[in-house]
Amino acid sequence: MKNYVRFEFPSVPENVSFARSCVGAFAAQLDCTLEEIEEIKLVVSEAVSNSIIHGYKNQPHGKVLVMATILDDRIMEIMIEDNGIGIADIKQAMEPSFSSDPSRMGLGFTFMKSFMDELEVVSQPGEGTNIKLKRCFLVKDKEALA
């Protein structure tokens, strides 16, 4: 199976929950566990929250683009993109506990790195940020699991 969904929405906090539910519902087409779907929802939540909070500085008029692609029954790619302020020092941004906002924990990228198999960040100050995440799921032996 090869399938994708591409969706866009404005940068309002209500849409964070919406975005992770949608990607979660889409991931359910794959042969993956509930726990794996929870992890997918978490990383989508982190990346979309970052676009709204950091990329658009909590302004509601930005546009967030999410694309989820199922490459075969085992691989899912997720792309989250904004046209916000961008990241000047990507290396620093990805360090555990680093945050440009003192009230935040700097855990977003750490979650993305830990729960996904690949993480790629493309960003330019003033141009926006593009996050690519990839996750391979183990082939499940359904008989053994039952």
Binding site: P13, E14, V16, S17, R20, E35, E38, K41, L42, S45, E46, S49, I52, I53, S103, R104, M105, L107, G108, F111, S114
Partner: protein
């Protein structure tokens, strides 16, 4: 998110229901801080029993309240986190700062 706040002598018990993400983080922070600042509270108990999802924005509210109550020389406890929420709490290391209990009775009895 639904929120229930209850003061029992000097303990503030907060029961959260729903998803703890950036949409609700701000509201949660405000509601708790309002009580911490005005009432004589030395124990903060957050019951996560009915929380179905938490991300780093939700964790941020918890850590922030921990710092606040600690600065007031108070104590904080987390209660009833489901396995999936517990996994995220452990991952963030919050469990090294804040004691976690299975249910409200476990704290009241200590």
């Amino acid at each position: 998110m639904e929120l229930e706040l209850k003061q029992i002598r000097n303990t503030l018990l907060v029961r959260v229901k729903g998803e703890m993400d950036m949409l609700v983080a701000e509201k949660l922070r405000k509601e708790i801080d309002r009580r911490l600042e005005t009432k004589q509270i030395t124990n903060l108990v957050i019951n996560l029993d009915k929380v179905t999802f938490i991300d780093s924005s939700g964790l941020g509210v918890i850590i922030g309240r921990y710092k606040k109550i600690s600065s007031l020389n108070g104590k904080m406890f987390i209660v009833g986190a489901s396995p999936s929420v517990r996994k995220i709490l452990m991952f963030s290391g919050i469990n090294k700062l804040i004691s976690m209990y299975n249910n409200e009775q476990d704290i009241i009895s200590i």
